[in-house]
Subunit: 575 residues, 2 copies
């Protein structure tokens, strides 16, 4: 029997990526990336409507870029690999989330219709569209007042990024668009609809982003009505109560989609998934006790459980959300790689840039090398890793970064190491929150961009948490995970697998090297962690609200009259 | 009658400086600087004894450099100005302190004798010789145990920099040097001895650095004996109980000193003074209510009072210590300009260095320009200015710097401004400590290197403290002040003045421009100051001893076994 293949397509923020994978082994034969033609739309609409400006915190996308992704990348991986398209048994996709759009009843995006093209609310709202904060605030206020039982499942707070925040913004700011939208849908589900002709709603985005649960369904109409009378029937009118567990076959490729992709019509297509969550089986994890950390600019922590639980500050818990039959818990650190990038861009003196240029390395690599020469505790520093707020466990975007212990002898590698350690302490707080909720974490499997490039960071994480850190073998776990779900959509009879557990067993691997805690380092880090926790609670739990006061003072300063007195010359007085 | 002149000689850390001043007006006619040939001796002794290495924290000087200063600078200013040497009525000197040395009975420095030349303890111990910390600790422990009444006059703590710390170190580490030292003397008094042939001990260094007071004298022999039996008679054997108020004539130039300087023998010489303290009259201040801030790498705050008082964390209070008949109070911030210098050297990215190069300015100037564009509060940051510990009011060298409020949008000018503001808050804490002790501070007169170059800093200080900041007209207040005391040593009959008050009236001036508080800025800074004080007390008064814990963790890390595990490669394990 010829070898069989599956294709995973990963829709990221700036580009889409297809990977062609051997079903029997998970071997990645070919990869192709398509940078979206219109990228992230955050200043003005694309030509010819570039005169339409977007507000602050807006972030849109062009849905046709997703179709272009299929058209470009899938034929590319087929041709690169030289395989017979008939041997591709299934396709899976994963997406950023919540990334959503309004469409007509047949799935036509409103922004592709001439009458709505110039209306920003007709476009795809990308995950990082943050303009719906007032709506999110109301969603939370009303939920708290009504004592909605679902609120604790989301750490007590719904994000401005999520589905109903964005939906409510459309309703309030663009009622004609809301009315014209027969469907409001995750882009993840929309692309599957485009591939198969079948509209499905996957349990992962519904659960993590649209307040759905397998047992309770969506929030009640009364709740939606209290937000806005027009929203009362949003689920029945524009969404669906039929939510399909991930791991299910959504349908098969239509003739049109077969033409886009070069695959044969009838190829199995999996229901959609989310990039972070689909990385879990791709990191070999299908059972409780092993945390997956998707580490990049931010870190997403995913843990499987056998029963519902409340973990302090978790982002969400969804039955069938990651692996069918399991409860998928999500937590997160909102700033990790982006803090290191901030540091390199804003606080590293020229000598290290010169060193990097001389050595032909990047500045991160030079700082890592220098920081690796320090012993744990030698920097004399401890930091709170809140440069971009705190997602778990404090769930507070208004928290900010703190650096403690600077002296005239402090050097850039000291601070760089302290920032790495701070993010490791943040991870330990999350690990301990899971354990406190009765969910033991035996080890961590890291995937994403950071683990590949930063052995010092990985060792520090192992030392700080006292857990072995393993690393997923694939550098593109989302696309691999999607291909795995594509193989499951095909099923064993068509040359795939019947369950994601079987697919994981055969297709997912770890790197052979891992990072084990060094006991001597761990003892030092236990001391430092105690200091971190004391500061974490002092600044983060209301003992001293200085971080918020500073944001308030800053906001008032910026709202004040035009600057004059900051020019010292104007205040010099003849004595 | 021809115009009369006075010469002030200021002995700094790296060089000595003479200024020739017109007695009637304070006009500075000529300046000359002599960089010490042997500079600060902190690694090994000068040739031919460079094989003798010094311990960590040692800092010595060569007393002959002081003589060379007279020989080089005084003839230079005489020749530059073209005046008749007969019209120079008096000479005054000021010095860093405590800078002290052991000599024979006739004032010969032990380090100039062949038998002691290679013995580090025979040399001048410079103010920043910090190797006597264990001795200082014992001085404080014994004083606290005995309840010595003088301890509160020094904020409860004697510094490792001071006279008896250094003396005790000589006794314990080099008993033969201690025995051979007929005299232990401040370099300030030693150079006056060299000029006049008369050994005097000035009230300023005795009071601030050697635990002397006009009413109580020195600590009791029993106290010294408890430190070390050999120290019991140190005052009577190697020092003097006759302490002369500053503003007194020490004597007149010997024939030899006249030859060094080119001045006429018999020229009046004032008793010695300390650089910071002599700046007070040179900044026009001779009365209570006006603080002098000598602002450079660190800041020294000097206030005059009518009666003794205990100001929290003051460095010292000395009757006759600054102006005869007044109590001179000293407080200080141990890190100011050096924090800004640290920041520029260690935390400013290349773009600002490039901007400075392009604009032909230094990086400080570029950062000041950018920081001036920010409104008070706009940075969102607040810092604790303890990069070099805290002198007043917490008197704790183990405190370290804290930066609070960083985000991914924080830029170098935000931090630069926050650091300036932090030092301003530190000054406000000191101003309020004086007021709390019943000593109102109406305005501040700044002198030293910082006020000249940093108008933004001066405005921020005015806004933060709510006080008008004036600036001394002279860029070299120590040398001017010394010249003023030289004129007083001469007396009115010889063409000088009879009192330092008269000399101040005529010879000292302020710049015409001053910095007045901007009320709108002050309101914002009141809010920020409240945050600063909360953090100051939290980190500085024992609520959270993390700053010290971090130093302890660091010390243990450095004392541990040789580094191995910090190399991540060694911890990677096959999984």
């Amino acid at each position: 029997m010829p070898l069989k293949y599956a294709i995973g397509v990963d829709f990221g923020t700036e580009s889409g990526r297809a990977v062609l994978v051997e079903v029997a082994t998970g071997r990645e034969l070919a990869t192709a990336v398509f940078p979206y033609r219109n990228g992230v739309i955050d200043g003005r609409l694309p030509a010819p409507d570039e005169d339409v400006r977007l507000g602050p915190d807006w972030a849109l996308q062009d849905p046709l870029d997703y179709i272009r992704t299929f058209q470009n990348t899938v034929p590319n991986v087929l041709s690169q690999s030289g395989i017979d398209r008939a041997d591709v048994v299934g396709v899976g996709i994963d997406f950023t989330a919540c990334t959503m759009l309004p469409t007509t009843a047949d799935g036509t995006p409103l922004c592709t219709l001439p009458e709505f093209r110039r209306e920003p609310h007709a476009w795809v709202k990308l995950w990082k569209h943050h303009a719906a904060q007032p709506e999110a605030d109301r969603i939370n206020d009303v939920a708290r007042r009504r004592g909605e039982a679902w609120l604790p499942r989301y750490g007590g707070k719904i994000s401005s990024e999520w589905f109903f925040s964005k939906t409510l913004q459309i309703l309030e700011e663009a009622p004609p668009i809301y009315r014209a939208a027969d469907r409001l849908i995750e882009a993840a589900d929309w692309v599957v609809w485009r591939l198969t002709g079948v509209e499905t709603r996957n349990s992962c985005t519904a659960g993590y982003k649209a307040i759905w649960s397998k047992r309770e369904g969506f929030p009640a109409s009364e709740y939606f009505a209290e937000l806005d009378r027009g929203l009362a029937s949003v689920v029945d009118e524009k969404m669906s109560r039929e939510v399909v567990p991930i791991g299910t076959r959504a349908g098969t490729l239509t003739a049109e989609a077969a033409q886009w992709t070069g695959l044969r019509p009838g190829t199995a297509v999996a229901v959609a998934n989310v990039d972070a969550h689909v990385s879990v089986p791709a990191s070999t994890v299908t059972e409780p006790g092993r945390m997956v950390a998707v580490m990049g600019t931010s870190t997403c922590h995913l843990v499987l459980g056998d029963r519902p639980a409340v973990v302090e500050g978790m982002c969400g818990v969804v039955e069938d959300g990651i692996i069918p039959g399991r409860f998928g818990f999500e937590a997160g650190q909102s700033g990790v790689g982006d803090i290191f990038a901030w540091f390199v861009d804003n606080a590293v003196p020229p000598e290290y840039h010169a060193m990097a240029a001389r050595d032909g390395r990047d500045v991160h690599a030079v700082l890592e090398r220098e920081a690796a020469r320090l012993r744990p505790g030698e920097s004399g520093l401890v930091a709170l890793d809140w440069w971009n707020g705190n997602r778990s466990i404090l769930v507070d975007v208004d928290l900010t970064g703190v650096l403690v212990g600077a002296t005239l002898a402090t050097r850039a590698p000291d601070i760089y190491r302290a920032l790495i350690e701070a993010t490791a302490f943040g991870t330990r707080v999350i690990v301990e929150a899971f354990e406190h909720a009765g969910m033991g974490i035996e080890e961590v499997v890291a995937c994403g961009g950071l683990p590949e490039r930063n052995p010092l960071l990985m060792q520090i994480y192992a030392d700080v948490t006292g857990r072995e850190f393993k690393v997923a073998a694939s550098a593109q776990t989302p696309a691999l995970g999607s291909a795995m779900f594509g193989a499951v959509a095909a099923g064993a009879r068509e040359g795939g697998y019947d369950t994601i557990l079987e697919a994981t067993e055969r297709m997912a691997r770890l790197k052979t090297d891992s990072y084990r805690p060094n006991l001597a380092n761990r003892a030092v880090y236990d001391d430092l962690y105690a200091e971190y926790v004391a500061l974490h609670d002092y600044f983060g739990r209301g003992q001293n609200d200085v971080l918020k006061s500073l944001k308030g003072i800053r906001a008032r300063a910026l709202a004040g009259p035009a600057l004059e007195a900051a020019d010292p010359a104007t205040e010099v007085a003849a004595s």
